[in-house]
Amino acid sequence: MRFAILLLAALALPAQAALKVFSTVPEWAALAREIGGDKVAATSATTALQDPHHVDARPSLIARARNADLLLATGAELEVGWLPVVQRESGNPRIQGGQPGYFEAAACVRLLDVPGRLDRADGDVHAAGNPHIQTDPRNMLQVGEALAVRMAELDPANAAAYRAGYANFAERWRAQIRRWEAQAAPLRGVAVVSQHKAWPYLLDWLGLREVATLEPKPGVEPSVAHLARVREQAAQSRPRMVIRAAYNPARPAEWFAREARVPAVVLPFSVGAPEADNLTALFETTVQRLLGALQ
């Protein structure tokens, strides 16, 4: 009997110490950790090797959402295929839309590639704009600032720690952005081909020019015939490399790289990909790999 009570207590009261942050993608979990330090316990529903558009509403995600204090989503319909089920099935009122425990990163920044028309004939388009905002480090400052405010609202006892955590992060981050921008100066104006329309924010930041995408429509796998057309069209603009995210299938980019005799560059895209263990490494590796492809 006593054992049963202990067991129940252990089940009912999982560690109350930290603010439980449940992020849909690894980059926001990493940002929450930068700001909150040991005041938060942040986990991510997906890894950098998974396509965040296509995730199953797995039982383990529902169980984690059940106990979360703060659900961090990218928004802009990135998670529309699975997150609503996780929210509903969780039975957790704190993380439903409109509650303080639900935070959308895309609401904090200016979105690029907002479609002029909405039609599924155009492929996997997002009405609000391109959701892959984490590829521009400057967005981390804006998202982080709003996130720190939200964390302070949810956990007022540690509000000062979150404010200080963000201030500290922002100072380091600005210095790093200046360093990356200086290093990446040779990339300005360089023509690239990308596999999926995942990089408008990175291109905007570093001044790269996207001359073609391998996917005929966002989210639609390229056929060989389409790849050949892209290669012919792209030949005139002389791309220096083809870039893809770690989670994208390797074949299309490798095929193009072979045919067009340019390097195929695998960018981490999110925290947790090889050589991108944290936010700093994510951009460090991104900049180094892009520079490496110029040589």
Binding site: D51, H54, S60, A63, N67, Y247
Partner: protein, 468 residues
């Protein structure tokens, strides 16, 4: 040496060193000036950098503020009544079927026919057929409730209310209440709509034990345990207007169901869910139209207890958990049903083996079971192959002495089996084309039916997220 000359020498030396001294002082002054200048420039550069950072910050702030203002103005512009329109989605499904035996004669020997046949079970007709067209409408009602409607438009030009329910959004403590007509939470596939199935038709076990799907009309209470791993418990109570219930005209709850599900991940690549469910119902006069051994039409009805236990399991695998390229899904469910009550047989003719129009009644008890196991392998993006095995065991019902086996040839014991192969191609996640081959021996010994399906499934409009 004379002292004078010594002095003179010293004086000359000192005089000689004077210009050097003077030059040193000038250099020092210059250095100081440069150092000061540098210092002041550094300060000015620092100040400029600070201003730059501030300007950057204010410009992003201004940008965000401008965007927000722009958003608000567009929102204000859109502030028409239709901005609150619910999400509307449509699923189109149709098929071309070819069968070696007439679909109208399809029956599952050994099992009570599960009510009126519908479009999601075994093939109903040969040739082109529009299957169910599902129209869904959903929206949040207010901060506490969400509403959902699913209408099935059948090829017979009928509108069927598949689902119409509300559920709570924020009860807390992991509780959710659902009310209305809804697909029961028992088993695994029951809650999944046909457009998301991996095969063109329902598993035979679903056809035999719940009439392709168990619909509850009442209330569901679901609780998710606050544990690290997934544990969900559910209770349902409601009207038993669908198979295996039926025709019970009494107050209170005719259908009771309970289910428990557990699940989790194994590494990054695998995830699973398993569960146990129980369905209890007391049909008052659940009847089917049969024939007796002499070919005369009969109406057979059952009143009593019907209890079904279901065990379900599903396992999904994808390399690194990324199902975009390759994935595998293994799914199986086992049903076990015991029915205990009275069976009556009424001849539609005035005379006949089954007691004529007056009919006969007898005690009846049956124990039946069945399972299906299916695997679906996505071997490259958009292409999948699947295999499903169905097997059921009707057992031997015990009745008599008033009713005899020749009165109820439908219930003669049999072990239906079916093997199904499937290949499908999805042009996107919203459109799927499927080819399916099946060999079905439900009808009885020597009556195997070969079935060929060509099916399309298309989803348009707002498309709700899918369950696991």
């Amino acid at each position: 040496m004379k002292p004078v000359s010594l002095f003179a020498l010293a004086a000359a030396g000192a005089l000689g060193a004077l210009p050097a001294l003077a030059a040193d002082a000038g250099l020092q002054a210059l250095r100081e000036e440069i150092a000061q200048m540098r210092k002041s420039y550094e300060q000015r550069i620092e100040a400029l950098e600070k201003r730059l950072v501030q300007a950057e910050a204010t410009s992003t702030q201004a940008r965000v503020a401008a965007d927000q203002a722009a958003n608000q103005t567009t929102r204000a512009g859109e502030g028409k009544a239709n901005a609150f329109n619910p999400e509307i989605g449509l699923n189109l499904q149709g098929a071309l079927t070819k069968t070696t035996r007439d679909p109208a004669t399809w029956t599952m020997r050994g099992f009570v026919p599960p009510g009126e046949p519908d479009e999601i079970g075994p093939p109903r007709r040969r040739g082109f057929t529009a299957q169910e067209t599902e129209l869904t409408v959903a929206a949040n009602v207010d901060p506490n409730f969400r509403g959902y409607l699913n209408l099935a438009l059948t090829p017979g030009n009928a509108v069927e209310l598949e689902e119409a329910y509300f559920h709570t959004l924020g009860l807390g403590a992991g509780l959710t209440v659902k009310g209305g007509r809804f697909l029961s939470g028992i088993g695994y596939q029951n809650e999944i709509h046909p457009h998301a199935w991996d095969f063109a038709d329902a598993p035979l076990a679903y056809t035999a034990f719940v009439g392709n799907k168990l619909t509850a009309e009442g209330l569901q209470l679901k609780w998710l345990a606050p544990t690290e791993s997934f544990l969900e418990l559910g209770l349902e109570a409601g009207r038993d207007n669908s198979f295996p219930g039926g025709a019970r005209n009494k107050g209170g709850s005719g259908l009771g169901a309970a289910f428990a599900h557990i699940g989790g991940d194994v590494g990054a690549s695998s995830s699973w869910r398993g569960g146990l469910s129980y369905i209890a119902t007391r049909p008052g006069a659940r009847s089917y139209a049969g024939v007796d051994a002499s070919g005369l039409a009969t109406t057979v009805s059952f009143a009593g207890d019907s209890r079904t236990a279901v065990a379900d399991f599903v396992w999904k695998w994808a390399p690194d958990g990324n199902a975009k390229e390759r994935s595998f899904k293994l799914q199986g469910e086992y049903f076990h049903r015991t029915e205990d009550g009275r069976l009556s047989c009424v001849e539609r003719d005035t005379s006949g083996a089954c007691g004529g129009a007056a009919g006969r009644a007898d005690s009846y008890r049956s124990t039946q079971s069945g399972y299906y196991l299916q695997g679906v392998w996505q071997f490259m993006p958009r292409w999948r192959l699947g295999y499903r095995h169905d097997r059921l065991d009707s057992g031997t019902p015990s009745f008599g002495p008033t009713l005899v086996a020749t009165d109820l040839p439908q219930l003669a014991s049999w072990k239906p089996q079916r093997n199904t192969l499937m290949a499908d191609y999805a042009t996107s996640e919203f459109a799927r084309l499927r080819f399916q081959l099946a060999r079905d021996s439900s009808r009885g010994a020597g009556l195997a039916d070969n079935q060929v399906w060509l099916q399309y499934v298309m989803s348009l409009g707002a498309h709700g997220a899918h369950k696991f």
